[in-house]
Every structure is written in structure tokens, then in C-alpha cells.
């Protein structure tokens, strides 16, 4: 296998090393914030796979995040499975949901696709409310103490320890980054981009674009669900709000700000936005207004995001 885009790989390695070192430099409060940023950027990276690389704008990715969150969280809450198994179940759950929704939603295009994904996600959100006796609804469920740690190869990993959480999040982030690097910089990634740039032409060249889109959709949903499963198990809480519209919009916004179609854009976008929202929610309860303003402003004047703009101006390999 030949290595494509060595510069980007080097940048990814440096990013991971910097993130690892940060935990020795940052105060505990910021390390915790960085843990959240890492998990949410996995979510945004999954979203970016579909929106940035394949050009399909979904408004319902909270559904996949929540599929992972609930599959993992409920299985450990009700059946008491160990956390690694629950995590795996979360990934499988997200895979199944994204495959089924993808098969349906990909029959539509553009605006219809956006509405269909939005409606499926709303139905999912409403179901978490409808079955409150199981999911805990708006109040959510807090995972019991024996689901807050696990043993693996003789080590006990404690989910209430900030250090363990950070390093686990970084590990999953690194694995996902590696997988996405392999996909996006390889032949499959080129097909995704081909569909984004010109679907009829890709079809004319003999490719089954429905299958390509379904692959992108499923990979995207599964990665988003991986983030959900990790989030639920790590912070020991699962609730309806993760399935809500706002969660989908946040993934969209993180990707838009960082740069759609760039590998590291979602990380940057998530970091910028979560820090911004954290600051603002201390000042006003109406901080959501910032999300509204940014959606409009970015769409009007800054559609390529931070890294997308840098790529187009200076560094062509940043993709």
C-alpha cells in the first residue's frame, strides 16, 4: 500500500502528540473540557465524512450519536454488561441504524435528503420521550457505580478519573483519525469526493454511486455513534437531549467552522465552538443565539471554514 499525503499524516501525528502532552500542561478543568472536545470532535469527524467529503448534508446525525449512546448505555444499565462490551454494542447499534436509515434516505437528494434525515432524527428523539419508562426521557439515566469502571488485561480503568477519561478519549480519537485518514486519503475517499463534485459523471464512469453514498453514510453514522457510546459510558449519563435537533446542528456547525472536507477541521471547529459556548453560557442563557448568528455568517461569508480556507489559499494537501 502506498502512502498518500505524507504531510497530512505528519500533521496528524504531531496533533496527537500535542494533545497527549497537553494533559501535563493544562489545569484539570481544561483537561476535562478537552476530553469532551475530543469525543465531540469524533462526532463531528463522522459528520464531516458525509457532509464534507461526500457532499451530503444531513440534519439528523444526533440520531446516530444517540443510537450509540443508548445502545451502549442501556445495555450496561439493564443487562450489566461490562463497559468494553457495551461500547462495542453501541458501535453495532449505530452501524445498524445508519445502514437502515441510509438505505431509505439515500433514495432522496439535496433538500429532500435534509428533510428526511431531520424527520427520522426527530422521530428517534420523540421515541426516547415516548418510551420514558425505559430511557428515562428528558431526565435521563445515570449509570450505576459498578458501570463506572472496567478491567482489561489486568488493569482496572476508572471512568471517574479525569486522567483515565482523557487518555481513553484520546486513544479512540486517534484510532478514528487513523481510520479516517486511511479512508479519505485512499481510493475510497476519492470516490466520495467524486460523488460530491459530480455524481452523474461518477456514475457514467461505471461506479455505483448509491453504494458509494451508502458506504459513506454508514461509516459516518457508525463513527458518530462511536462518539455517542463513548460519551455515555465515560460520563455515566444518557438522556434525550443528545438525540435532539440541537445536537445535529452542533455537529454541522463544528464541521462548518473547522472546514468541511478537511481531516482535522472538525477537531478545530469543535475546540473553537465548545470553548466559545462555554464562555457565553456563563454570561447569558440565550447563548444559542450565537449558534444562529454563526450558521448564517459562516454560510454567507466563510463557507469553507478555517482549514478549508487555509487549504485553498496556501496548503493544498490539507484535505
Amino acid at each position: 500500500m502506498t502512502l498518500h499525503n505524507g504531510k497530512l499524516l505528519a500533521l496528524c501525528v504531531v496533533t496527537v502528540i500535542v494533545l497527549f502532552v497537553l494533559q501535563f500542561v493544562l489545569p484539570p478543568y481544561l483537561t476535562l473540557a478537552l476530553t469532551r472536545i475530543l469525543i465531540l470532535s469524533v462526532f463531528a469527524m463522522g459528520y464531516n465524512m458525509l457532509m464534507g467529503y461526500t457532499g451530503l448534508l444531513s440534519l439528523g446525525h444526533a440520531m446516530f450519536f444517540a443510537a450509540g449512546l443508548y445502545a451502549a448505555g442501556l445495555s450496561t444499565y439493564y443487562w450489566g454488561v461490562t463497559l468494553p462490551v457495551a461500547f462495542l454494542l453501541g458501535i453495532i447499534g449505530a452501524f445498524a441504524v445508519s445502514l437502515v436509515i441510509g438505505l431509505l434516505a439515500l433514495r432522496t437528494q439535496a433538500v429532500s435528503f435534509m428533510i428526511v434525515t431531520l424527520m427520522f432524527a426527530q422521530a428517534g428523539y420523540l421515541m426516547t420521550l415516548q418510551f420514558t419508562s425505559i430511557t428515562g426521557g428528558d431526565q435521563g439515566l445515570t449509570l450505576p457505580t459498578d458501570a463506572r469502571s472496567f478491567g482489561l488485561f489486568g488493569f482496572v480503568v476508572d471512568m471517574t478519573s479525569d486522567t483515565a477519561r482523557f487518555n481513553l478519549a484520546l486513544l479512540i480519537f486517534t484510532v478514528v483519525l487513523g481510520v479516517l485518514f486511511a479512508i479519505t486519503q485512499g481510493p475510497l475517499g476519492r470516490l466520495f469526493v467524486a460523488v460530491r463534485e459530480n455524481e452523474p459523471r461518477t456514475q457514467m464512469l461505471g461506479f455505483d454511486t448509491y453504494a458509494i453514498k451508502l458506504t459513506a453514510f454508514t461509516v459516518s453514522g457508525t463513527i458518530s455513534g462511536t462518539a455517542g457510546a463513548l460519551y455515555g459510558l465515560m460520563f455515566g449519563y444518557i438522556g434525550s437531549s443528545f438525540a435532539g435537533f440541537q445536537n445535529s446542528i452542533e455537529a454541522l456547525l463544528y464541521t462548518l467552522i473547522g472546514g468541511p472536507g478537511t481531516l482535522l477541521g472538525p477537531l478545530l471547529g469543535t475546540a473553537v465552538m465548545t470553548m466559545l459556548i462555554d464562555r457565553l453560557s456563563g454570561i447569558t442563557t440565550a447563548y444559542l443565539i450565537v449558534i444562529g448568528v454563526l450558521l448564517i455568517v459562516v454560510n454567507l461569508w466563510f463557507p469553507k471554514g478555517i482549514l478549508g480556507t487555509i487549504r485553498d489559499r496556501w496548503l493544498g494537501w490539507l484535505k
Binding site: 433538500v111 422521530a123 415516548q130 444562529g292
Partner: protein
């Protein structure tokens, strides 16, 4: 089965009231989609602004509630229409009505309008007095005559809109723009101005719906979500951009949502609606009533 009759009558009446308000908001959404080929996700917020406007009029206009109601029925839609016109000029024109960009931008507008209302109007639900109180007696229960007045108002407005679209010069211009934008432009129709006006009219229809509904249901900054969802259902089930289809679907959905909410939980009714939209778009994109549409 004798006991069921009053429930059915009540659910039917409530469904009728709901259908009539829904007809107005859905026609607004449908008109915007039909002529401009864009989806306005902030549509429900224009409805909410209409309701909040009616509350504000009730606060500032002294005297009988009917007076405040009449003022609200004129002032609130006008202000909302101006806001929509402004939003169209400031945002939608600049992205050249790109369909996906419009959805993202109107989601932004949704958050801005909602949060500004939260900051000014506050988080509480507020009631507005009905313009008149007269209870119509049935053998089982009394029914508010204002609710039936809502139905009449909605029918009059929809008839007015229909005549405007089919008979007036402006209606012709709108239909021409809907049919073929480029040809319309070649014939000297100011397509850009038509777009702004259609966007404003769509918002005004939603705002009128909000004014009409607020004596029955309190004004709240989050009240735009449900009408947005149901308008979507109506517009998509009725066929995107088809006005007769929209009217038929509004009656069907309004009635059935009332019935579903009475017999099941409101959440179950909403799950049904969202899945209906999704499946109609996936399997029958021209709508259940519509002929296949030019896009």
C-alpha cells in the same frame, strides 16, 4: 358506543380548528416552496412572533379585547412580513437562494428569533383574552364560539389568497415565476422582488395563524416547533408547492392529529407525523395528492 359520540364530536371540532390554522401556516410554507423552491425552517418562528405580537397588542391597546385583537390581526402580520422581507434581502438574496444554504441560514434565523424572544418576552407562557366569549351549547359540552370564528377567518383568508393567486395580476406574476423563473425574467418580471414579496407573504400567513391561535393557546417562545412540523407534514403529503393539495392535506392532517392526540399521546401523534413525512419523501416524493411536480 353511545359514549363515544361526544368524544368524536369534540375531537372532530378540535381537529377542524387545528386544520384551519394549519391551513394558513402550511399555505405560507407551500407558497414559499412553490415559487422560490426553498424550504423555510424558520417558518414556525414567524408563527410564534404572530402570537407574541398578539400578546403585545393586548398589553398596549386599551379597552375591549376585541379592539386589541383587530389591531393585532393587522399589525403583527405586517411587522412579521417586514422582518421576513428584511431577512430575505440581508441573507437569502446574498446566497442566491441556494437550496441547502437556505435551510442552514433559516435554521440560524430560527435560533436568533427564538433566543431574542426569550431575552425580551421571557420564558413564561402568556395568555391573551379572546375577542369575545360566547359558548355554543351541545347536549354534552359547551364549545367556544371563538374557535369556530377561527375556522371562518381561515377559510376567508384562504379564499382571498386563492382569488389573489388565480385572478390578480400579482398572482399571475407569482405563478409565472413559479412555472419558469428564467422565462419570467425574460418577460420583464422582477423575479427578485417577487421572491422577497412571496417570502414576506409566507411569513405573514404564519403570523396570522399565530394571532388566531393565541386566545386558545398561550404564547410561548418555543411554540413554533409543532406548527413547523405539521406544516411540513401537510406540505409534503399534499405535494410540494401544490395549493389544492396543501388545503386537502391540512384538513386530513389537522383532523387526524386531533383524533390521534385524543386517543393516543401527543408524542405518539408526532412520531407518526415525522415518520409520515420521511416515508412520503422517500417513497412518493410528489406527495400523496399531488401530480408529479416540475422541479
Amino acid at each position: 358506543m353511545m359514549d363515544l359520540a361526544p368524544y368524536l364530536l369534540l375531537a372532530g371540532l378540535e381537529g377542524l380548528v387545528m386544520a384551519s390554522v394549519l391551513m394558513l401556516t402550511a399555505l405560507g410554507l407551500s407558497l414559499v416552496f412553490g415559487v422560490m423552491r426553498v424550504v423555510n425552517v424558520a417558518h414556525g418562528e414567524f408563527y410564534m412572533l404572530g402570537a407574541v405580537g398578539a400578546w403585545a397588542c393586548a398589553q398596549f391597546v386599551p379597552g375591549h379585547p376585541a379592539l386589541a385583537f383587530c389591531v393585532a390581526l393587522v399589525v403583527a402580520p405586517l411587522l412579521v412580513g417586514m422582518l421576513a422581507y428584511l431577512a430575505d434581502w440581508a441573507i437569502l438574496k446574498r446566497i442566491n437562494y441556494d437550496p441547502e444554504g437556505t435551510i442552514v441560514s433559516t435554521i440560524g434565523m430560527l435560533y436568533i428569533i427564538q433566543q431574542l424572544t426569550l431575552m425580551s418576552f421571557g420564558p413564561d407562557a402568556r395568555a391573551v383574552d379572546a375577542p369575545f366569549y360566547y359558548t355554543i351549547r351541545t347536549p354534552w359540552f359547551g364549545y367556544s364560539s371563538y374557535k369556530l370564528f377561527t375556522v371562518v377567518m381561515a377559510l376567508v383568508l384562504v379564499a382571498g389568497l386563492w382569488v389573489m393567486l388565480k385572478r390578480s395580476k400579482w398572482g399571475l406574476v407569482m405563478r409565472a415565476t413559479q412555472f419558469d423563473r428564467e422565462t419570467a425574467q425574460n418577460f420583464g418580471i422582477p423575479v427578485n422582488r417577487v421572491y422577497s414579496i412571496v417570502f414576506a407573504i409566507g411569513a405573514m400567513l404564519a403570523a396570522i395563524g399565530g394571532v388566531l391561535v393565541v386566545p386558545n393557546q398561550q404564547a410561548h417562545y418555543l411554540m413554533g416547533g409543532d406548527p413547523l412540523l405539521l406544516s411540513f407534514v401537510v406540505v409534503i403529503v399534499g405535494g410540494l408547492g401544490s395549493i389544492p393539495g396543501t388545503i386537502a392535506a391540512a384538513i386530513l392532517i389537522g383532523m387526524s392529529d386531533g383524533l390521534l392526540s385524543v386517543f393516543f399521546s401527543p408524542t405518539a401523534a408526532k412520531i407518526f407525523s415525522t415518520l409520515l413525512v420521511a416515508f412520503v419523501l422517500v417513497f412518493k416524493p410528489e406527495g400523496l395528492f399531488g401530480r408529479s411536480n416540475r422541479v
